[in-house]
């Protein structure tokens, strides 16, 4: 699936719920499926800065594609990490760098987009894009 196809799928999945509690329930369930970061990767250098909970995000570059794993000590944050990984993991650096992120608004998690210090979402997206950019530069230099 392309990034955009995954985004459309996600929007469809969340929009079947009208009630906010059901959306959060679904997000929490997703959090339980997030590809978990290896314990050895739960280092300070993999910690995302800018979240009230602790979030670790790790990336691996294999055959031209980037794969992400994550974990968090807050369940909702884990769910958000899962969403992002579902969208971005397994794609090329260029695809990730160029991807748009406004879909999160369409899912109905708008309160997670405000620029307060607790907002891990923006920090995670920034980190994913940074990893992709770094791999993109590396690809060009080889």
């Amino acid at each position: 699936m392309t990034i955009n196809e995954t985004i459309d799928q996600l929007i469809k999945e969340f929009n079947q719920f009208d009630d906010w509690m059901d959306k959060y329930n679904y997000l929490i369930e997703m959090g339980r499926s997030v590809p978990l970061i290896d314990e050895t990767q739960k280092t300070d250098s993999n910690l995302i800065v800018g979240c009230q909970s602790r979030v670790w995000l790790s990336s691996e570059y294999r055959d031209g594609l980037i794969y992400f794993t994550a974990d968090s000590d807050a369940v909702i944050t884990k769910g958000i990490a899962y969403l992002l990984i579902r969208v971005f993991s397994g794609h090329t650096p260029t695809e990730i760098v160029e991807a748009e992120t406004t879909f999160l608004d369409k899912i109905g998690l708008k309160e997670h987009l405000s620029p307060t210090r607790s907002n891990g979402l923006l920090s995670m997206v920034k980190q994913i894009k940074l990893y992709a950019f770094a791999y993109q530069v590396k690809e060009k230099n080889i």
Binding site: M21, Y24, I28, Q52, S53
Partner: protein
């Protein structure tokens, strides 16, 4: 039950327009008063009326509007002085808030009086605003920061404090009330112990002025900082009380118009206190708002305010203690209506997000007290901070929300 009738409580709530709004379709339960308080209509009107009818620059004009505005501005200064029983209104400097007041003294006092090898005492429960300016001053001057630790109940350990006071100590800076734990610190005693060794005391009163009467002469503190927005006034204004002898000795760090006596390119002299510390055009509109807030509080009376807050603190504490898995962080004997707590096995961010969706505003995180969190071995808490316009029914809603959170994350 509150000792005041339902009609009185509702009448007070009606004074605050924002309390009748909904959040996500549910009635707002505003339990974040330690972050900022809501404003009564009279405060909002004072600010807009100023711009509608009375706006002019102060202290400089001969025309009617300017003289009116100046008179009104200085009247609020006198009102603040009376409110905290300062000896004179010249001991009240208007600032942007408590943080600016602390920065003013940390810079100005330390510039003249702090030397290499000296010490400044703060406590482990301080807000970052009452740590970082002193820490930076110590770094600039080669001085050291000393920390008063806590007891297990979240009270300042006065025995260790006494031992920290020595001939190198140049200032003690403590908060009146902890914004995270709710602890009311024994300022009178802290000041007496410091003064017995000729050490001045700076009190961060950001949480102090809303919860009970403050008498700076009785406390005998050398400085007291406050923020209007934490006492039902507007954001962007606050003040510093400083004893005349100190304000005359320390030099300003914000310079320019208004605070000068005479300016030439050869030399500039500064004017008298408090104006020496008020460079630039002041925030007159919000000073009007501050005046209206003081009038409102005086109108309500401390009996009503303290009775309501103490009643809510007790009710909320009792109800929280009934819920399995709740730990209250901060169990001092004397507390303001601020309760930090944790729910076992559930991250405070998760809990706060769900509670928010039920229309209840609590705060989560470190509450700008990271060193306190480190000392307690936690990364943050949920905090409910109540005001006289909150109700027991609202506390019940919070308890219901917590039960819902527990079910969701089980």
């Amino acid at each position: 039950m509150s000792e005041f009738p339902e009609s009185k409580i509702q009448s007070v709530r009606n004074d605050f327009p924002i309390l009748s709004r909904s959040i996500y379709g549910k009635p707002l339960v505003y339990f974040d008063n330690a972050a900022t308080t809501q404003k009564p209509r009279t405060v909002i009107d004072a600010i807009s009326n100023y711009y509608l009818k009375d706006n002019a620059n102060v202290h400089r004009g001969v025309h009617y509007l300017s003289q009116q505005a100046t008179g009104a501005f200085e009247d609020v200064r006198k009102k603040v002085a009376t409110f905290i029983n300062a000896g004179s209104s010249t001991e009240i400097v208007f600032t942007r808030g408590a943080t600016e007041a602390i920065n003013l003294v940390a810079w100005s006092y330390c510039e003249s009086f702090l030397n290499a090898g000296d010490e400044i005492i703060v406590s482990v429960l301080e807000h970052h605003s009452n740590i970082v300016p002193w820490q930076a001053a110590c770094e600039r001057k080669g001085a050291h920061l000393k920390i008063i630790p806590l007891t297990t109940e979240g009270e300042l350990n006065l025995e260790v404090y006494g031992q920290l006071l020595n001939e190198h100590t140049k200032m003690v800076a403590v908060s009146h009330i902890s914004n995270t734990l709710g602890t009311i610190n024994p300022i009178g005693e802290i000041v007496a112990m410091a003064h017995s060794k000729n050490i001045p005391v700076f009190v961060d009163g950001a949480q102090g002025l809303s919860h009970g009467p403050v008498d700076v002469q009785k406390l005998d503190c050398d400085f007291y900082a406050f923020s209007a927005h934490k006492m039902y006034g507007p954001m962007g204004i606050g003040g510093l009380f400083g004893k005349t002898s100190w304000l005359e000795k320390i030099q300003p760090y914000q310079l320019g118009g208004e605070m000068i006596e005479k300016v030439t390119f050869a030399k500039t002299t500064y004017t008298e206190i408090p104006y020496k510390f008020e460079a630039g055009t002041p925030n007159v509109a919000d000073v009007m708002g501050l005046g209206a807030a003081i009038d409102y509080l005086n109108g309500l009376g401390w009996d009503f305010i303290t009775s309501q807050e103490n009643g809510l603190l007790k009710y909320a504490t009792d109800r929280l203690r009934e819920v399995e898995g709740i730990t209250i962080i901060g169990t001092a004997a004397k507390k303001a209506a601020i309760i930090s707590f944790l729910i076992e096995g559930i991250h405070f961010f998760d809990a706060g997000t769900i509670i928010d969706h039920m229309g209840i505003a609590v705060r989560t995180g470190s509450h700008c007290t990271q060193p306190l969190m480190d000392s307690l071995g936690i990364s943050g808490t949920l905090r409910a901070s109540m005001a006289f316009y909150n109700t027991r029914q609202e506390v019940d809603k919070l308890i219901d929300a917590i039960q819902r959170v527990k079910t969701l994350f089980a």
